[in-house]
Symmetry: C2
Subunit: 259 residues, 2 copies
């Protein structure tokens, strides 16, 4: 039993394994607590004796058991062999990827969607997911070229955000037809875009942020109603994409009084 | 000669070595290019044959030579032994830490200063330095408990920002008397603070952001005129500190029309 879960967790280290099985791995006390709190379906968990050394760890083990999760005791070395982090704090859970879809989104009159157009760094994407949830984006939509949303480093940075808030991969054509259907205007963020200050956003807006180096894809550029930029000091090329996304979501939320 | 520079670079891996010698290490093509561009004083550079494989690398080597920097050819293995990154791209430069001081700051009528109150993650601090330069903060002031501003991971994230923009360590008492003297109001950022929207900032403002886990120090809390917060969705505890700093600097700059 332990070895079956261990083999499964190792298989989930690769994106292909995660996509085929629609499962992902949460590592460490905090991430596993978030999985429990979000009431995701838990396939099983690997624990080492280290987890039981702290009251918080013992509580977590009890929660996992009361949720009916299959638990396997493994050694620290075995746990490390299935984990991305060097110190997974004695626990790793295997859970089902929440099945969000565009059709299941309920768009209010005023809505903000965030589109990731080839954002590659998992730390950036994790931070962006956390930020989008905090600033009221209704969903995060990841186009091809974006890092897997269920990559362990993304999970770490997101701190549970996409366990509860919709985030999903979408194909460009699927996205564009959805936006048209739902009357959502698409904007792209780009350093050469129009200055954001003073532009009134539409009620329903999807804002796309691009790859850390190359920026937006041709396809997004072609479909965006406009591109916008944040005013930067002379001589500074760009902001980190997670910081830029935070400012955009904050500024565009504020302007229509969604806060 | 090569071995002397190599020994020096290794000594600069530790904060104590950097502080004693007032030197730091820039690793990789981009960071060393930024050192050259910022006209910092370069003590020497280690290069491997790999650097000469690209036109950009050859140009960089020429720039280093024309600046009179002492160059030492080393093996990839030797370079790696003195570097923080796994792939320093065949080049590492040793440069003098720019000597910024509070006294040398020229504060205009309207000014923004950023205070780092125990921010510990070097990736966060690097991103914050880059953001502060981009959004017009006049200087970044790091209180004790903040990671060393010349740590290699900070340098990587900052992308040259504090090679050109003032950033320095300060003691709390020194900071507080400077702010009083220069008529700069101090605010702290804190999730329980007043909602930022609708508060008019003073002409001269220093905004302090705290430790990733513990938040602001007692000393900053005691001296801050007020604490402010960004409006977050219910159920979300906090933003990443670099993202929060970006939003604060953007929002507070916008409100007084410094852009």
């Amino acid at each position: 039993m332990g070895s079956r879960l261990l083999t499964l967790a190792r298989d989930l280290q690769r994106r292909r394994g995660r996509e085929r099985r629609a499962l992902f791995v949460a590592e460490g006390v905090r991430a596993v607590e978030e999985v429990v709190r979000a009431r995701l379906s838990i396939r099983g968990a690997l624990v080492t004796p280290q987890l039981l050394e702290s009251p918080r760890g013992r509580t977590l083990k009890n929660s996992l058991e009361s949720r009916g999760a299959e638990l396997a005791e493994v050694s620290s070395r075995e746990l490390a062999s299935a984990a991305d982090t060097e110190t997974p704090q004695g626990v790793l859970a295997i859970a089902e990827v929440p099945q969000y879809s565009l059709d299941s989104l309920r768009l209010p009159v005023q809505a903000r969607l965030l589109v990731l157009d080839g954002v590659q760094d998992p730390g950036n994407v994790g931070t962006i997911l956390r930020t989008a949830a905090a600033l009221g984006a209704l969903a995060v939509l990841a186009l091809p070229g974006t890092v897997d949303l269920w990559n362990p480093k993304v999970i770490r940075g997101a701190m549970g955000a996409h366990f509860r808030h919709p985030a999903m991969q979408v194909e460009p054509e699927e996205l564009f037809s959805y936006l048209t259907q739902q009357d959502v205007e698409l904007w792209g963020a780009e350093t050469r875009g129009d200055q954001l200050n003073g532009i009134a956003p539409p009620a329903r807006l999807a804002i796309a942020v691009g790859n850390e180096g190359a920026g937006l894809s041709e396809s997004i550029r072609a479909h965006a109603r406009r591109t916008v930029a944040l005013a930067l000091e002379p001589g500074v090329e760009s902001l980190n994409v997670a910081v830029a996304t935070g400012i955009l979501l904050y500024a565009l939320r504020g302007q229509v009084g969604l806060a």
